[in-house]
């Protein structure tokens, strides 16, 4: 029995000028739940995502994380509460090595910040965690490679690993498989499935098969609203959802 929902989005709205990107979105996740957001381009998935991660502030409504109101918090403050995210467009430290990327992710998670004197290499806790991540995700061989010299597939993988550095309580994945080949997509999907079961995961995904493979529950968005919510059978049987995906208005 858990006292709080992992994530609780209540009546959230977001307007960009006159454009209503989100209208009265309500969504709750239990701890350890895996929810996939589906929806066509422009449905508001990424806007909802940014509202949860703090990159944009909701115009109305309330968002809470394990019972704590985070509606107005900055992204870094939300991250310190155990929320991690990936980006739809790969967002890594391109001119740094893979190891340095992970070091920074671990520094953020362990709050090793504003340390001016001792060299980075002397922080054993950070190094050990970064090395563990390298080993866990088969990145040892590319540890000293500059990220921009890696293949796109490898970069997408590191995009996810960065978010895992701090063992987040809740993980937001913004289309982790976008632009990947079927084989790479499969690998990333397997990677997400293999994550600890107590990690709450909210994921945006375009690939229906990947979505059904990972999700405990699915929410479908359209024109800034959640129009359907439920398990695979519910979603597959929903008339409105199939209309949207077949292009019928």
């Amino acid at each position: 029995m858990t006292a709080y929902k992992a994530l609780d989005v209540q009546n959230v709205a977001k307007n960009f000028g006159g454009v209503r990107a989100l209208t009265d979105v309500t969504l709750a996740m239990a701890p350890g739940e895996r929810l996939v957001l589906l929806g066509p381009n422009g449905a508001g998935k990424t806007t909802l995502f940014h509202s949860i991660s703090g990159n944009i502030i909701a115009s109305a409504g309330r968002i809470s994380l394990f019972g704590q109101d985070i509606t107005q918090l900055a992204p870094d403050a939300r991250a310190r509460l155990g929320l991690a995210r990936t980006f739809q467009i790969t967002n890594l430290f391109r001119q740094l090595t893979v190891f340095q990327n992970l070091q920074l992710a671990v520094c953020g998670a362990q709050q090793v910040t504003f340390k001016f004197i001792r060299p980075m290499t002397q922080y054993a806790d950070v190094r050990e965690r970064a090395e563990a991540l390298l080993a866990e995700w088969n990145l040892v061989d590319v540890a000293d490679t500059i990220v921009q010299n890696l293949s796109y597939g490898e970069q997408r993988q590191i995009e996810v690993v960065m978010a895992l550095a701090g063992n987040p309580k809740i993980l937001l994945l913004d289309e982790p498989t976008s632009g990947l080949s079927p084989a790479e997509t499969h690998r990333v999907a397997a990677m997400v499935r293999a994550l600890p079961r107590d990690m709450t995961i909210l994921m945006i995904e375009h690939d229906m098969d990947v979505a059904f493979e990972i999700a405990d529950r699915i929410a479908v968005m359209h024109q800034g609203r959640i129009i359907a919510e439920g398990d695979e059978a519910t979603i597959r049987g929903n008339k409105q959802v199939s209309d949207i995906y077949l292009g019928v208005e």
Partner: protein, 307 residues
């Protein structure tokens, strides 16, 4: 690693032996190079490591110089008060600039820092009773213990070397890595739980402090301060030193400072059109060595080492 130690040892020998070998004119020139190397390195911390382009860096350099000159010449205070006061003013101004400018990025940040620096320049230019206006403030004496060229050179050498050690340590620290992360992606750093603004603010203040130290040394070197210390041309000049040497390398900007000052010394003895020459050098660098002299050296060096 052994190569680096050898390089440092060699540099130490050269710099310590220099005043006993070359005529005093060149000791003075080397002093100037060291001061501007520090100035350029302080700017590189912002541009090369934090990714914040500033075109107002002369403001920190100049306010420190003016504070020292005004306190010493006008108010007859000792250098033990004037020198720390100069650094304090540079740090305070760095904080003010950061508070006002850090909402902007890229070329907008460049414009805001330029505008803020011009305000400081305008004050130095207009407040004649205190600053002497465009006549400047002559009559500053070096502290008694460094009154001759050689001992002043060693003071500058010691402070610049110590500052370099501090800057290198800073860049290798978790804070330094975080600055580089911010340069690469602010949004990712935020998502990882870093307070990006606070890091940038601290970087700005540290850069201003070292620029202030350079300005303090330069006003004692020059024994005279004028609005030129604060002028946009000086901000641009130090920016060009950083770019010519190699952005984000620390050693590069120091080499860039040496190159520019030596060329200025040679060219301005022949012609009055030094700024024209500077412009041509800048264009040539961006065309043929976009990563600066250090980048050029590394490319050549790597190419030669390939089988």
């Amino acid at each position: 690693m052994a190569r680096i130690l050898l390089f440092i040892a060699l540099a130490a020998v050269v710099f310590v032996a220099l005043p006993f070998v070359v005529p005093s004119y060149y000791v003075g020139l080397t002093t100037k190079i060291l001061i501007f190397a520090l100035f350029a390195m302080s700017l590189d911390l912002l541009i090369g490591y934090t990714g914040l382009a500033s075109l107002g860096h002369a403001a920190f350099f100049g306010i420190s110089a003016y504070t020292i000159a005004v306190l010493s010449v006008k108010l007859r205070m000792s250098e033990w008060i004037a020198f720390p006061a100069g650094l304090t003013m540079a740090i305070a101004l760095g904080a003010v600039f950061a508070l006002l400018a850090l909402r902007a990025r890229g070329s907008y940040l460049l414009m805001i820092t330029l505008a803020l620096a011009q305000v400081v320049w305008g004050i130095a230019f207009g407040w004649r009773t205190m600053t002497g206006g465009d006549d400047g403030l002559p009559g500053l004496r070096r502290p008694a213990f460094v009154s001759d060229e050689t001992s002043f050179y060693f003071l500058v050498l010691g402070l610049v070397a110590a500052s370099t050690v501090v800057l290198v340590a800073l860049i290798r620290s978790p804070f330094g890595l975080a600055l580089q992360g911010i340069r690469e992606s602010e949004s990712r750093m935020q998502a990882l739980g870093f307070n990006v603004w606070r890091h940038q603010f601290v970087a700005f203040v540290i850069a201003a402090a070292f620029a202030g130290l350079a300005g303090a040394l330069y006003v004692y070197y020059n024994r005279f301060v004028s609005p030129d210390f604060l002028h946009v041309v000086r901000s641009a000049e130090v920016l060009i030193m950083v770019i010519i040497g190699g952005v984000g390398t620390l050693l590069g900007p120091a080499i860039g400072a040496a190159a520019i000052i030596l060329l200025e010394d040679i060219i301005s003895s022949q012609t009055q059109h030094w700024l024209l020459a500077l412009g041509i050098i800048y264009v040539a660098t961006t065309l043929f060595a976009p990563r600066g002299l250090i980048g050029l050296y590394r490319e050549r060096f790597m190419a030669r080492r390939k089988p």
